[in-house]
Amino acid sequence: MSDLRELYQDVIIDHGRHPRNIGEMQDATHRQEGFNPLCGDKVKVYIKLHADRVENIQFEGCGCAISMASASLMTEALKEKTLAEVDILFSAYHELVTCGATSDHLGKLRVMAGLREFPLRVKCATLAWHTMKAALAESKQIVSTEESV
Protein backbone atom coordinates (compact mmCIF):
# COMPACT_ATOMS: atom_id res chain seq x y z
CA MET A 1 0.00 0.00 0.00
CA SER A 2 1.48 3.36 -0.96
CA ASP A 3 1.94 6.00 1.76
CA LEU A 4 -0.77 8.06 0.19
CA ARG A 5 -3.25 5.20 0.01
CA GLU A 6 -2.48 4.44 3.64
CA LEU A 7 -3.26 8.04 4.54
CA TYR A 8 -6.41 8.29 2.50
CA GLN A 9 -7.92 4.94 3.50
CA ASP A 10 -11.55 4.34 2.71
CA VAL A 11 -12.50 4.72 6.36
CA ILE A 12 -10.95 8.16 6.44
CA ILE A 13 -12.47 9.27 3.17
CA ASP A 14 -15.81 7.98 4.43
CA HIS A 15 -15.60 9.70 7.83
CA GLY A 16 -14.29 12.80 6.11
CA ARG A 17 -17.25 12.93 3.81
CA HIS A 18 -19.90 11.73 6.27
CA PRO A 19 -18.71 12.68 9.72
CA ARG A 20 -20.53 11.07 12.68
CA ASN A 21 -21.79 12.89 15.77
CA ILE A 22 -21.99 16.21 14.03
CA GLY A 23 -24.05 19.18 15.13
CA GLU A 24 -24.48 21.55 18.04
CA MET A 25 -25.26 20.07 21.44
CA GLN A 26 -27.63 22.22 23.48
CA ASP A 27 -27.02 20.57 26.83
CA ALA A 28 -23.24 20.31 26.60
CA THR A 29 -21.40 20.84 29.85
CA HIS A 30 -18.19 21.73 28.02
CA ARG A 31 -17.64 23.39 24.68
CA GLN A 32 -14.62 24.77 22.89
CA GLU A 33 -13.60 26.23 19.52
CA GLY A 34 -10.40 25.29 17.73
CA PHE A 35 -8.73 26.83 14.71
CA ASN A 36 -5.86 25.99 12.42
CA PRO A 37 -4.82 29.27 10.80
CA LEU A 38 -2.56 27.46 8.35
CA CYS A 39 -5.37 25.89 6.40
CA GLY A 40 -8.47 27.51 7.80
CA ASP A 41 -9.76 24.37 9.50
CA LYS A 42 -12.27 25.14 12.22
CA VAL A 43 -13.83 22.86 14.74
CA LYS A 44 -16.15 23.24 17.70
CA VAL A 45 -16.30 20.40 20.20
CA TYR A 46 -19.26 19.79 22.58
CA ILE A 47 -19.04 17.44 25.52
CA LYS A 48 -21.63 16.36 28.03
CA LEU A 49 -19.87 15.08 31.07
CA HIS A 50 -21.67 13.04 33.67
CA ALA A 51 -19.56 12.57 36.78
CA ASP A 52 -16.23 11.65 35.20
CA ARG A 53 -17.70 10.01 32.12
CA VAL A 54 -18.22 11.41 28.62
CA GLU A 55 -21.93 10.89 28.22
CA ASN A 56 -22.07 12.53 24.85
CA ILE A 57 -19.63 14.25 22.48
CA GLN A 58 -20.32 16.04 19.23
CA PHE A 59 -18.59 18.47 16.92
CA GLU A 60 -19.20 21.01 14.21
CA GLY A 61 -16.68 22.24 11.74
CA CYS A 62 -15.28 22.36 8.28
CA GLY A 63 -11.92 21.35 6.99
CA CYS A 64 -9.94 18.80 5.11
CA ALA A 65 -10.68 15.09 5.04
CA ILE A 66 -8.06 14.39 7.67
CA SER A 67 -9.35 16.91 10.18
CA MET A 68 -13.01 15.98 9.67
CA ALA A 69 -12.30 12.26 9.82
CA SER A 70 -10.15 12.63 12.90
CA ALA A 71 -12.86 14.63 14.66
CA SER A 72 -15.49 12.12 13.68
CA LEU A 73 -13.42 9.13 14.76
CA MET A 74 -12.58 10.90 17.98
CA THR A 75 -16.21 11.36 18.93
CA GLU A 76 -16.85 7.68 18.29
CA ALA A 77 -13.85 6.66 20.33
CA LEU A 78 -14.50 8.89 23.33
CA LYS A 79 -18.16 8.26 23.92
CA GLU A 80 -18.73 6.59 27.28
CA LYS A 81 -15.08 6.86 28.23
CA THR A 82 -13.97 8.09 31.66
CA LEU A 83 -11.70 11.11 31.92
CA ALA A 84 -8.81 8.83 32.78
CA GLU A 85 -9.45 6.78 29.67
CA VAL A 86 -9.70 9.95 27.59
CA ASP A 87 -6.24 10.94 28.79
CA ILE A 88 -4.77 7.60 27.88
CA LEU A 89 -6.36 7.67 24.45
CA PHE A 90 -5.16 11.23 23.87
CA SER A 91 -1.57 10.20 24.50
CA ALA A 92 -1.84 7.00 22.54
CA TYR A 93 -3.40 8.82 19.59
CA HIS A 94 -0.69 11.46 19.67
CA GLU A 95 1.99 8.82 19.49
CA LEU A 96 0.14 7.07 16.72
CA VAL A 97 -0.02 10.06 14.37
CA THR A 98 3.45 11.37 15.13
CA CYS A 99 5.47 8.17 15.14
CA GLY A 100 3.07 5.42 14.17
CA ALA A 101 3.22 3.71 17.57
CA THR A 102 0.06 1.65 17.93
CA SER A 103 -1.34 0.51 21.23
CA ASP A 104 -4.20 -1.78 22.11
CA HIS A 105 -6.54 0.95 23.32
CA LEU A 106 -6.68 2.61 19.95
CA GLY A 107 -9.12 0.31 18.20
CA LYS A 108 -10.50 1.89 15.04
CA LEU A 109 -8.35 4.98 15.54
CA ARG A 110 -5.50 2.92 14.14
CA VAL A 111 -6.57 3.88 10.61
CA MET A 112 -4.83 7.18 11.31
CA ALA A 113 -1.42 5.49 11.46
CA GLY A 114 -0.62 6.66 7.93
CA LEU A 115 -0.19 10.17 9.29
CA ARG A 116 3.32 9.43 10.52
CA GLU A 117 4.55 9.77 6.93
CA PHE A 118 2.86 13.17 6.61
CA PRO A 119 4.21 15.40 9.33
CA LEU A 120 2.66 18.43 7.63
CA ARG A 121 -0.78 16.98 8.28
CA VAL A 122 -0.38 16.09 11.94
CA LYS A 123 -1.93 19.41 12.91
CA CYS A 124 -5.04 18.53 10.92
CA ALA A 125 -5.26 15.20 12.65
CA THR A 126 -4.91 16.62 16.15
CA LEU A 127 -6.93 19.85 16.01
CA ALA A 128 -10.11 18.18 17.26
CA TRP A 129 -8.22 16.34 19.97
CA HIS A 130 -6.52 19.47 21.28
CA THR A 131 -9.84 21.26 21.20
CA MET A 132 -11.45 18.42 23.14
CA LYS A 133 -8.71 18.63 25.76
CA ALA A 134 -9.17 22.37 26.07
CA ALA A 135 -12.93 21.93 26.38
CA LEU A 136 -12.42 19.62 29.33
CA ALA A 137 -9.92 22.03 30.84
CA GLU A 138 -12.58 24.73 30.37
CA SER A 139 -10.12 27.04 28.68
CA LYS A 140 -11.74 30.17 27.38
CA GLN A 141 -9.30 30.97 24.55
CA ILE A 142 -9.79 29.65 21.06
CA VAL A 143 -7.38 26.78 20.59
CA SER A 144 -4.92 27.35 17.81
CA THR A 145 -2.63 24.71 16.40
CA GLU A 146 0.00 27.44 16.23
CA GLU A 147 0.22 27.73 19.97
CA SER A 148 3.48 25.90 20.25
CA VAL A 149 6.29 26.60 17.85
Partner: protein, 403 residues
Amino acid sequence: MMNLYKKDFPILNQTVHDKTLVYLDSSASNQKPEVVIQTVSQYERMHHANVHRGVYELSRRATGAFEETREAVKQFIHANSLQEIIFTSGTTAAINLVAQSYGRTHFKAGDEIIVSMMEHHSNIVPWQMIAEATGAILKVIPINLAGELDLDAYRLLLSPRTKLVAVAHVSNVLGTINPIQEITRLAHAHQAVVLVDGAQAVAHIPVDVQALDCDFYAFSSHKAYGPTGVGILYGKRALLENMPPYQGGGEMVEQVTFAKTTYNTLPYKFEAGTPNIANVIGFKAAIDYVKHIGFTRVVEHDQALLAYATEQLTTLPGIKLIGTARQKIGIISFVIENVHAHDIGTILDHEGIAVRVGNHCAMPLMQFYQEAACVRASFAIYNSIADIDALMMGLKTVQRYFN
Protein backbone atom coordinates in the same frame (compact mmCIF):
# COMPACT_ATOMS: atom_id res chain seq x y z
CA MET B 1 8.40 22.49 -25.75
CA MET B 2 11.63 22.84 -23.78
CA ASN B 3 11.81 25.62 -21.24
CA LEU B 4 14.81 27.80 -21.97
CA TYR B 5 15.25 29.04 -18.45
CA LYS B 6 14.72 26.01 -16.21
CA LYS B 7 18.39 25.10 -16.44
CA ASP B 8 19.29 28.40 -14.76
CA PHE B 9 17.50 27.30 -11.58
CA PRO B 10 19.44 24.56 -9.83
CA ILE B 11 16.67 23.79 -7.34
CA LEU B 12 14.37 22.55 -10.10
CA ASN B 13 16.80 19.79 -10.98
CA GLN B 14 15.66 17.41 -8.23
CA THR B 15 13.10 14.80 -7.42
CA VAL B 16 10.65 15.00 -4.54
CA HIS B 17 8.94 11.80 -3.36
CA ASP B 18 10.69 10.15 -6.32
CA LYS B 19 8.95 12.46 -8.79
CA THR B 20 10.48 15.33 -10.73
CA LEU B 21 9.88 18.53 -8.80
CA VAL B 22 7.24 20.76 -10.38
CA TYR B 23 7.29 24.09 -8.58
CA LEU B 24 4.04 26.02 -8.99
CA ASP B 25 4.24 28.28 -5.96
CA SER B 26 6.22 31.22 -7.29
CA SER B 27 3.70 33.72 -6.02
CA ALA B 28 4.71 32.70 -2.51
CA SER B 29 8.39 32.91 -3.35
CA ASN B 30 10.33 32.68 -6.59
CA GLN B 31 13.19 30.30 -7.01
CA LYS B 32 16.55 31.94 -7.69
CA PRO B 33 18.72 31.55 -10.75
CA GLU B 34 22.26 30.31 -10.15
CA VAL B 35 23.64 33.74 -11.01
CA VAL B 36 21.84 35.27 -8.03
CA ILE B 37 23.03 32.56 -5.66
CA GLN B 38 26.58 33.02 -6.88
CA THR B 39 26.49 36.79 -6.66
CA VAL B 40 25.61 36.52 -2.99
CA SER B 41 28.22 33.92 -2.11
CA GLN B 42 30.84 35.67 -4.24
CA TYR B 43 30.16 38.84 -2.32
CA GLU B 44 30.56 37.04 1.00
CA ARG B 45 33.77 35.36 -0.13
CA MET B 46 35.40 38.44 -1.65
CA HIS B 47 33.96 41.79 -0.66
CA HIS B 48 31.91 41.80 2.51
CA ALA B 49 32.11 44.75 4.88
CA ASN B 50 29.63 47.10 6.43
CA VAL B 51 28.51 49.84 4.07
CA HIS B 52 28.65 53.63 3.95
CA ARG B 53 31.01 54.18 6.82
CA GLY B 54 34.28 52.52 5.98
CA VAL B 55 37.35 54.19 4.51
CA TYR B 56 38.87 50.92 3.40
CA GLU B 57 38.74 48.93 0.23
CA LEU B 58 36.24 46.20 1.18
CA SER B 59 33.81 48.75 2.49
CA ARG B 60 34.21 50.77 -0.70
CA ARG B 61 33.38 47.71 -2.78
CA ALA B 62 30.46 46.68 -0.60
CA THR B 63 29.04 50.20 -0.61
CA GLY B 64 29.53 50.50 -4.35
CA ALA B 65 27.75 47.23 -5.09
CA PHE B 66 25.00 48.05 -2.62
CA GLU B 67 24.34 51.42 -4.24
CA GLU B 68 24.46 49.87 -7.69
CA THR B 69 21.41 47.87 -6.71
CA ARG B 70 19.65 51.10 -5.84
CA GLU B 71 20.45 52.37 -9.32
CA ALA B 72 19.26 49.11 -10.87
CA VAL B 73 15.99 49.25 -8.93
CA LYS B 74 15.49 52.86 -9.93
CA GLN B 75 15.79 51.92 -13.57
CA PHE B 76 13.76 48.75 -13.13
CA ILE B 77 10.69 50.64 -11.91
CA HIS B 78 11.48 53.87 -13.74
CA ALA B 79 11.76 56.05 -10.68
CA ASN B 80 12.90 59.59 -11.05
CA SER B 81 15.75 59.61 -8.57
CA LEU B 82 17.84 57.44 -6.28
CA GLN B 83 16.50 59.28 -3.25
CA GLU B 84 13.16 57.66 -3.95
CA ILE B 85 14.43 54.09 -3.55
CA ILE B 86 14.43 52.84 0.03
CA PHE B 87 15.62 49.40 1.03
CA THR B 88 13.45 47.61 3.58
CA SER B 89 13.23 43.99 4.67
CA GLY B 90 10.21 43.26 2.46
CA THR B 91 6.90 44.46 1.06
CA THR B 92 5.32 44.09 4.47
CA ALA B 93 7.93 46.29 6.14
CA ALA B 94 7.63 48.85 3.33
CA ILE B 95 3.86 49.14 3.77
CA ASN B 96 4.19 49.37 7.53
CA LEU B 97 6.75 52.14 7.07
CA VAL B 98 4.28 54.22 5.07
CA ALA B 99 1.35 53.40 7.34
CA GLN B 100 3.26 54.53 10.42
CA SER B 101 5.37 57.37 9.10
CA TYR B 102 2.92 58.88 6.65
CA GLY B 103 -0.17 57.78 8.54
CA ARG B 104 0.74 59.13 11.95
CA THR B 105 1.45 62.55 10.52
CA HIS B 106 -1.41 62.74 8.02
CA PHE B 107 -4.41 60.84 9.37
CA LYS B 108 -6.82 62.09 11.98
CA ALA B 109 -10.10 60.85 13.39
CA GLY B 110 -12.73 60.51 10.67
CA ASP B 111 -10.25 60.43 7.80
CA GLU B 112 -10.67 57.53 5.43
CA ILE B 113 -8.24 54.97 4.08
CA ILE B 114 -9.43 52.94 1.10
CA VAL B 115 -8.22 49.39 0.52
CA SER B 116 -9.74 46.73 -1.68
CA MET B 117 -11.48 43.42 -1.06
CA MET B 118 -8.65 41.54 -2.75
CA GLU B 119 -5.75 42.77 -0.62
CA HIS B 120 -3.13 40.59 0.99
CA HIS B 121 -3.07 40.83 4.80
CA SER B 122 0.10 42.87 4.46
CA ASN B 123 -1.92 45.59 2.77
CA ILE B 124 -4.80 45.40 5.25
CA VAL B 125 -3.46 44.95 8.76
CA PRO B 126 -0.99 47.88 8.72
CA TRP B 127 -3.90 50.15 7.78
CA GLN B 128 -6.12 48.67 10.46
CA MET B 129 -3.38 49.33 13.00
CA ILE B 130 -2.85 52.96 12.00
CA ALA B 131 -6.61 53.47 11.70
CA GLU B 132 -7.01 52.31 15.26
CA ALA B 133 -4.18 54.57 16.41
CA THR B 134 -5.48 57.69 14.66
CA GLY B 135 -9.23 57.17 14.52
CA ALA B 136 -9.20 56.93 10.74
CA ILE B 137 -11.69 54.60 9.06
CA LEU B 138 -11.08 51.79 6.61
CA LYS B 139 -13.22 51.64 3.47
CA VAL B 140 -13.20 48.69 1.10
CA ILE B 141 -13.50 48.67 -2.69
CA PRO B 142 -15.74 45.73 -3.60
CA ILE B 143 -15.02 43.35 -6.44
CA ASN B 144 -17.15 41.45 -8.92
CA LEU B 145 -17.29 37.66 -9.10
CA ALA B 146 -14.63 37.57 -11.79
CA GLY B 147 -12.31 39.23 -9.29
CA GLU B 148 -12.16 42.71 -10.75
CA LEU B 149 -12.35 45.93 -8.77
CA ASP B 150 -15.66 47.72 -8.93
CA LEU B 151 -14.45 51.11 -10.11
CA ASP B 152 -17.87 52.70 -9.90
CA ALA B 153 -18.05 51.80 -6.25
CA TYR B 154 -14.51 53.12 -5.84
CA ARG B 155 -15.56 56.48 -7.31
CA LEU B 156 -18.34 56.69 -4.76
CA LEU B 157 -16.03 55.87 -1.89
CA LEU B 158 -13.70 58.75 -2.74
CA SER B 159 -14.43 61.94 -0.86
CA PRO B 160 -12.63 64.82 0.78
CA ARG B 161 -12.18 62.52 3.76
CA THR B 162 -10.11 60.08 1.71
CA LYS B 163 -6.49 60.42 2.68
CA LEU B 164 -4.90 57.33 1.18
CA VAL B 165 -5.77 54.51 -1.20
CA ALA B 166 -3.84 51.25 -0.77
CA VAL B 167 -4.32 48.71 -3.50
CA ALA B 168 -2.50 45.76 -5.04
CA HIS B 169 -1.06 46.12 -8.50
CA VAL B 170 -1.78 42.41 -8.94
CA SER B 171 -3.80 40.16 -6.64
CA ASN B 172 -1.90 37.20 -5.20
CA VAL B 173 -4.96 34.95 -5.35
CA LEU B 174 -6.89 36.13 -8.39
CA GLY B 175 -3.99 37.22 -10.56
CA THR B 176 -6.02 40.30 -11.49
CA ILE B 177 -4.02 43.25 -12.79
CA ASN B 178 -5.68 46.35 -11.39
CA PRO B 179 -6.01 49.59 -13.38
CA ILE B 180 -3.59 51.56 -11.23
CA GLN B 181 -3.36 54.56 -13.52
CA GLU B 182 -7.09 55.08 -13.32
CA ILE B 183 -7.14 54.47 -9.57
CA THR B 184 -4.38 56.99 -9.07
CA ARG B 185 -5.98 59.59 -11.31
CA LEU B 186 -9.23 59.40 -9.37
CA ALA B 187 -7.52 59.47 -5.97
CA HIS B 188 -5.40 62.45 -6.92
CA ALA B 189 -8.51 64.32 -7.98
CA HIS B 190 -9.47 64.04 -4.30
CA GLN B 191 -5.99 64.92 -3.00
CA ALA B 192 -5.55 61.38 -1.70
CA VAL B 193 -2.23 59.61 -2.10
CA VAL B 194 -1.95 56.09 -3.49
CA LEU B 195 0.17 53.21 -2.25
CA VAL B 196 0.51 50.31 -4.64
CA ASP B 197 1.39 46.85 -3.32
CA GLY B 198 3.50 45.60 -6.20
CA ALA B 199 4.60 42.30 -4.60
CA GLN B 200 2.95 40.17 -7.29
CA ALA B 201 3.52 42.52 -10.21
CA VAL B 202 7.25 43.06 -10.59
CA ALA B 203 8.17 39.57 -11.78
CA HIS B 204 5.31 39.46 -14.29
CA ILE B 205 4.70 42.85 -15.88
CA PRO B 206 6.84 45.90 -16.53
CA VAL B 207 6.40 48.56 -13.86
CA ASP B 208 6.76 52.28 -14.47
CA VAL B 209 5.99 54.19 -11.31
CA GLN B 210 6.04 57.50 -13.12
CA ALA B 211 3.53 56.33 -15.70
CA LEU B 212 1.37 54.85 -12.92
CA ASP B 213 1.81 58.12 -11.08
CA CYS B 214 1.42 56.32 -7.76
CA ASP B 215 2.84 57.94 -4.66
CA PHE B 216 4.27 54.81 -3.07
CA TYR B 217 5.13 51.44 -4.55
CA ALA B 218 6.21 48.47 -2.43
CA PHE B 219 7.62 45.10 -3.45
CA SER B 220 9.87 42.21 -2.37
CA SER B 221 13.05 40.88 -3.92
CA HIS B 222 12.14 37.26 -3.14
CA LYS B 223 9.10 37.40 -5.39
CA ALA B 224 11.23 38.69 -8.25
CA TYR B 225 13.98 36.04 -8.47
CA GLY B 226 16.05 37.72 -5.76
CA PRO B 227 16.97 36.70 -2.20
CA THR B 228 14.74 36.93 0.86
CA GLY B 229 14.87 39.75 3.38
CA VAL B 230 14.95 42.59 0.87
CA GLY B 231 12.09 44.88 0.01
CA ILE B 232 11.81 48.13 -1.82
CA LEU B 233 9.77 51.15 -0.99
CA TYR B 234 9.49 53.67 -3.76
CA GLY B 235 8.04 57.00 -2.73
CA LYS B 236 7.76 60.32 -4.46
CA ARG B 237 10.54 62.49 -3.17
CA ALA B 238 8.39 65.39 -2.01
CA LEU B 239 6.34 63.03 0.14
CA LEU B 240 9.28 61.14 1.58
CA GLU B 241 11.03 64.37 2.45
CA ASN B 242 8.18 65.46 4.64
CA MET B 243 7.76 62.17 6.42
CA PRO B 244 9.37 61.53 9.81
CA PRO B 245 11.73 58.56 10.09
CA TYR B 246 10.17 55.20 10.84
CA GLN B 247 12.96 53.48 12.73
CA GLY B 248 15.81 55.14 14.61
CA GLY B 249 19.40 53.97 14.64
CA GLY B 250 22.69 54.08 12.86
CA GLU B 251 22.88 55.34 9.28
CA MET B 252 19.64 57.33 9.40
CA VAL B 253 21.00 60.17 11.50
CA GLU B 254 23.02 63.27 10.76
CA GLN B 255 23.91 64.34 14.27
CA VAL B 256 22.96 62.79 17.56
CA THR B 257 23.04 64.45 20.91
CA PHE B 258 20.82 63.65 23.85
CA ALA B 259 19.28 67.07 23.43
CA LYS B 260 18.54 66.86 19.75
CA THR B 261 18.99 64.49 16.86
CA THR B 262 18.89 65.52 13.23
CA TYR B 263 18.22 63.07 10.48
CA ASN B 264 20.11 62.11 7.39
CA THR B 265 18.87 62.96 3.93
CA LEU B 266 16.96 60.61 1.63
CA PRO B 267 17.02 57.70 1.19
CA TYR B 268 19.11 57.04 4.31
CA LYS B 269 16.63 58.69 6.64
CA PHE B 270 14.53 55.55 6.26
CA GLU B 271 17.34 53.01 6.37
CA ALA B 272 18.20 52.58 10.02
CA GLY B 273 20.79 49.97 10.97
CA THR B 274 22.95 47.68 8.93
CA PRO B 275 21.01 46.69 5.81
CA ASN B 276 20.77 43.22 4.30
CA ILE B 277 23.90 43.96 2.28
CA ALA B 278 24.56 40.56 0.72
CA ASN B 279 21.00 40.04 -0.40
CA VAL B 280 20.53 43.57 -1.68
CA ILE B 281 23.57 42.96 -3.86
CA GLY B 282 22.08 39.62 -4.92
CA PHE B 283 18.90 41.38 -5.94
CA LYS B 284 20.75 43.34 -8.61
CA ALA B 285 21.73 40.05 -10.25
CA ALA B 286 18.05 39.09 -10.24
CA ILE B 287 17.03 42.35 -11.88
CA ASP B 288 19.74 41.91 -14.48
CA TYR B 289 18.55 38.38 -15.12
CA VAL B 290 14.97 39.49 -15.77
CA LYS B 291 16.08 42.45 -17.85
CA HIS B 292 18.21 40.18 -19.96
CA ILE B 293 15.20 38.01 -20.76
CA GLY B 294 13.12 41.10 -21.34
CA PHE B 295 9.55 41.78 -20.34
CA THR B 296 8.20 41.06 -23.80
CA ARG B 297 9.22 37.45 -23.40
CA VAL B 298 8.32 37.31 -19.72
CA VAL B 299 4.77 38.44 -20.44
CA GLU B 300 4.37 36.21 -23.49
CA HIS B 301 5.52 33.19 -21.54
CA ASP B 302 3.29 34.00 -18.57
CA GLN B 303 0.21 34.51 -20.73
CA ALA B 304 0.82 31.35 -22.72
CA LEU B 305 0.99 29.28 -19.51
CA LEU B 306 -2.07 30.99 -18.10
CA ALA B 307 -4.11 30.37 -21.26
CA TYR B 308 -3.11 26.72 -21.41
CA ALA B 309 -3.69 26.10 -17.71
CA THR B 310 -7.09 27.78 -17.80
CA GLU B 311 -8.14 25.73 -20.81
CA GLN B 312 -6.94 22.47 -19.24
CA LEU B 313 -8.26 23.01 -15.72
CA THR B 314 -11.73 23.92 -16.85
CA THR B 315 -12.07 20.44 -18.34
CA LEU B 316 -11.97 18.91 -14.83
CA PRO B 317 -15.34 17.93 -13.38
CA GLY B 318 -16.38 19.85 -10.28
CA ILE B 319 -13.69 22.54 -10.59
CA LYS B 320 -14.43 26.18 -9.92
CA LEU B 321 -11.86 28.82 -10.86
CA ILE B 322 -11.40 31.75 -8.47
CA GLY B 323 -10.26 34.76 -10.43
CA THR B 324 -11.26 35.10 -14.05
CA ALA B 325 -10.49 38.76 -14.66
CA ARG B 326 -9.85 39.87 -18.21
CA GLN B 327 -6.44 41.25 -17.24
CA LYS B 328 -4.48 38.78 -15.19
CA ILE B 329 -1.07 37.26 -14.72
CA GLY B 330 -0.07 33.62 -14.45
CA ILE B 331 -1.84 32.79 -11.22
CA ILE B 332 -4.70 30.31 -11.22
CA SER B 333 -6.71 29.55 -8.10
CA PHE B 334 -9.46 27.01 -7.80
CA VAL B 335 -11.52 24.69 -5.63
CA ILE B 336 -12.78 21.21 -6.48
CA GLU B 337 -16.15 20.04 -5.28
CA ASN B 338 -16.08 17.71 -2.28
CA VAL B 339 -12.31 17.78 -1.95
CA HIS B 340 -10.66 20.13 0.49
CA ALA B 341 -7.74 22.19 -0.82
CA HIS B 342 -5.52 20.82 1.90
CA ASP B 343 -6.03 17.25 0.73
CA ILE B 344 -5.36 18.31 -2.84
CA GLY B 345 -2.10 19.90 -1.73
CA THR B 346 -0.93 16.74 0.03
CA ILE B 347 -1.73 14.47 -2.90
CA LEU B 348 -0.09 16.82 -5.41
CA ASP B 349 2.99 17.05 -3.19
CA HIS B 350 3.16 13.30 -3.27
CA GLU B 351 3.33 13.59 -7.05
CA GLY B 352 6.20 16.10 -6.78
CA ILE B 353 3.98 19.10 -7.47
CA ALA B 354 4.24 22.13 -5.17
CA VAL B 355 1.13 24.31 -5.06
CA ARG B 356 -0.14 26.56 -2.33
CA VAL B 357 -3.37 25.79 -0.49
CA GLY B 358 -5.17 27.77 2.16
CA ASN B 359 -6.36 31.33 2.43
CA HIS B 360 -3.23 32.86 0.88
CA CYS B 361 -3.10 35.63 3.47
CA ALA B 362 -6.27 37.06 1.94
CA MET B 363 -9.01 35.97 4.34
CA PRO B 364 -11.46 38.74 3.45
CA LEU B 365 -11.22 37.77 -0.21
CA MET B 366 -11.79 34.11 0.63
CA GLN B 367 -14.81 35.10 2.67
CA PHE B 368 -16.17 36.94 -0.34
CA TYR B 369 -15.91 33.71 -2.32
CA GLN B 370 -17.21 31.78 0.69
CA GLU B 371 -14.32 29.39 0.63
CA ALA B 372 -12.16 28.62 3.65
CA ALA B 373 -9.32 27.55 1.40
CA CYS B 374 -8.42 27.17 -2.25
CA VAL B 375 -5.58 25.78 -4.33
CA ARG B 376 -3.28 28.18 -6.15
CA ALA B 377 -0.88 27.35 -8.95
CA SER B 378 1.35 30.24 -9.96
CA PHE B 379 3.84 30.43 -12.78
CA ALA B 380 7.27 31.86 -13.34
CA ILE B 381 9.72 32.03 -16.18
CA TYR B 382 11.02 28.52 -15.38
CA ASN B 383 7.64 26.81 -15.72
CA SER B 384 6.57 24.97 -18.84
CA ILE B 385 3.55 23.42 -20.48
CA ALA B 386 4.83 20.10 -19.15
CA ASP B 387 4.44 21.42 -15.60
CA ILE B 388 0.79 22.13 -16.27
CA ASP B 389 0.35 18.68 -17.74
CA ALA B 390 1.84 17.27 -14.55
CA LEU B 391 -0.61 19.35 -12.52
CA MET B 392 -3.51 17.96 -14.57
CA MET B 393 -2.30 14.40 -14.03
CA GLY B 394 -1.99 15.13 -10.33
CA LEU B 395 -5.50 16.50 -10.10
CA LYS B 396 -6.83 13.43 -11.84
CA THR B 397 -5.12 11.35 -9.16
CA VAL B 398 -6.81 13.49 -6.53
CA GLN B 399 -10.17 12.83 -8.05
CA ARG B 400 -9.46 9.10 -8.15
CA TYR B 401 -8.91 9.16 -4.40
CA PHE B 402 -12.05 11.07 -3.65
CA ASN B 403 -14.54 9.49 -6.04
